[in-house]
């Protein structure tokens, strides 16, 4: 196992014990060396054990497990919805729904920022790793970043269409021009990646080009 850390999928399969054979041996060797991955897999196993052992009729242990997980889940839901949940899990009512309409763009951009930040962390980690051992770059991890960028770009493109009529003509012209340039590059990169799917540098370029696209689209928030 040469990669610096296990992927999310590898951690999950090690936690649930579904992986066997040589692959499992390699991952176990990595866990023996890597405290971060080992700790994360142990945490996943603990969560699985708690969920499995919790009674189905909902007692205190069940409630405690939910209480542990709920804040993070609620935060993620809040980032993607129109109106925030209150502390008890209900919506904020009519005012909240009205505010939600106004906050739609803001929440979209906030979610965008979170996804971009997560993708950037992954891409930069890969970049650092590639500089040390270029032959062992985890292409799948970069591909995950590309997928995150694609999803985010689509969300922002939807926002652009909604706001198109409100933008200054010169800003709109600039955004459309820059998007055309970036999209042309993405088409070339995707075609090359399809021909050479294991080329890590190619995937990194694709991720950084999607990053450019998202940055252009995020400017619509300032272009009105």
């Amino acid at each position: 196992m040469d990669a610096e850390h296990l992927t999310e999928d590898e951690r999950q399969t090690m936690a649930d014990g579904s992986l066997t054979g040589e692959r499992a041996t390699a991952l176990l060797e990595h866990l023996a060396r890597c405290a971060a991955c080992s700790s994360d897999v142990a945490r996943l196993r603990t969560i699985r054990a708690r969920v499995a052992s919790a009674p189905t009729d909902g007692d205190a242990a069940d409630t405690a497990a939910v209480d542990t997980l709920w804040p993070a889940i609620r935060a993620r839901i809040d980032q993607r919805k129109d109106a925030a949940l209150d502390a008890r899990g209900g919506t904020t009512g009519t005012a909240g729904r009205r505010a939600g309409n106004r906050l739609r763009l803001v929440s979209g951009l906030t979610a965008a920022a979170c996804i971009v930040a997560a993708a950037l962390v992954g891409a930069r980690r890969i970049a650092r790793r590639a500089s040390v051992t270029p032959q062992v770059v985890a292409t799948t991890e970069v591909a995950d970043s590309v997928t995150a960028y694609q999803q985010e770009a689509q969300t922002l493109l939807d926002e652009l269409e909604l706001r198109r009529a409100l933008l200054r003509p010169d800003a709109l012209t600039a955004i459309d021009h820059d998007l055309a340039v970036v999209d042309s590059a993405i088409v070339e990169l995707r075609a090359a990646a399809a021909r050479d799917p294991n080329n890590a540098a190619l995937h990194q370029l694709l991720a950084s080009t999607y990053e450019r696209k998202i940055e252009i689209l995020k400017r619509i928030g300032n272009a009105g």
Partner: protein, 294 residues
């Protein structure tokens, strides 16, 4: 090609400097539009779509605004000692007469400047600048600075701990000493000749990227380009590990005396000196060229 890029960079600075001097001569005669006492670390929001905005950091706990307002009644300034909003009202469509502003702020203040076609010139104050087609110039010793420009030229010659520039079609020139720099363009050229960069990320989609200057020991420099050329002119005694990769374009190195650790048609890895810094270049089809400064 390299000399033409340097010429463009030098010309850009010369033009901006000339405009700066002309503006400074006349600005002293402009009427005072607003003046107020503020605390040192205030935040100022400035909006002027057409004309020019010049922001100067000074050693006073007050703000002073001088200017020539294009459309009577369109200027407004409001706020308190913690900050001020200074704006020139501008309709979404149409072309009102341009407004020129010169704003003096405490050095520790943060300026948030939004313009459309207005040229922006900031010295001695950090913050955030957004323009569509106007040019941007930043100089002096400043706090963190972030610049977004869709089509305008950007020239930075400043000492700053953190610099982020997102250019579009206009040329971007980086000088001075930005410690941590993250700079990119879409089609515009990017010319970096700055000392003191410890962490640098420089990229473009199709613009030429030229880097000249010292490389810090322990520094990390990443360059990415899709179809534009990437040219690195490094000190002859540079100490760095270079990892260059190009999907379909060529890679050229003038460090001929150094035997590469690995070399294929699409990648080149070479250690120069003791390899104290890391330099990574990725390109899709734009040529990559590295060599010693001449």
């Amino acid at each position: 090609m390299r000399s033409s890029s340097m010429l463009i960079g030098a010309s850009l600075f010369a033009l901006v400097a000339l405009a700066d001097r002309l503006g400074a001569q006349s600005a002293a005669d402009w009427p005072i539009l607003a003046a107020r006492r503020v605390v040192g670390a205030s935040t100022f929001k400035i909006f002027n779509s057409r004309g020019s905005v010049r922001v100067v950091g000074w050693d006073h706990d007050s703000v002073l605004v001088r200017g020539r307002v294009g459309r009577p009644g369109s200027f407004s300034a409001g706020g308190d000692t913690l900050g001020l909003k200074i704006s020139v009202d501008d309709p979404l469509h149409g072309s009102p007469p341009p407004t020129s502003l010169v704003i003096f702020l405490p050095r520790r203040a943060r300026a948030t400047i939004k313009a459309v076609n207005a040229d922006v010139d900031v010295s001695g104050v950090g913050g955030w600048i957004y323009t569509i087609t106007g040019s941007t110039r930043v100089s002096g010793s400043i706090g963190a600075m972030e610049i977004e420009s869709m089509r305008g030229a950007v020239a930075v010659d400043a000492r700053t701990p953190w610099l982020r520039v997102r250019g579009g079609d206009g040329p971007v020139v980086i000088r001075g000493s930005p410690e941590d720099a993250d700079v990119s363009t879409i089609t515009g050229s990017l010319d970096i000749a700055a000392s003191g960069v410890v962490r640098g990320q420089f990229g473009s989609v199709s613009g030429a990227v030229h880097f000249r200057g010292p490389v810090a020991s322990g520094g990390i420099y990443e360059f990415s380009n899709h179809s534009g050329e990437t040219i690195l002119s490094l000190a002859p005694d540079v100490s760095a590990v270079l990892a260059l990769s190009n999907v379909s374009g060529r890679i050229e190195s003038d460090f001929a005396a150094t035997r590469p650790a690995s070399h294929t048609a699409q990648s080149l890895r070479v250690t120069l000196g003791h390899g104290d810094a890391q330099i990574i270049v990725r390109s899709f089809k734009g040529p990559i060229h590295v060599g010693p400064q001449r």
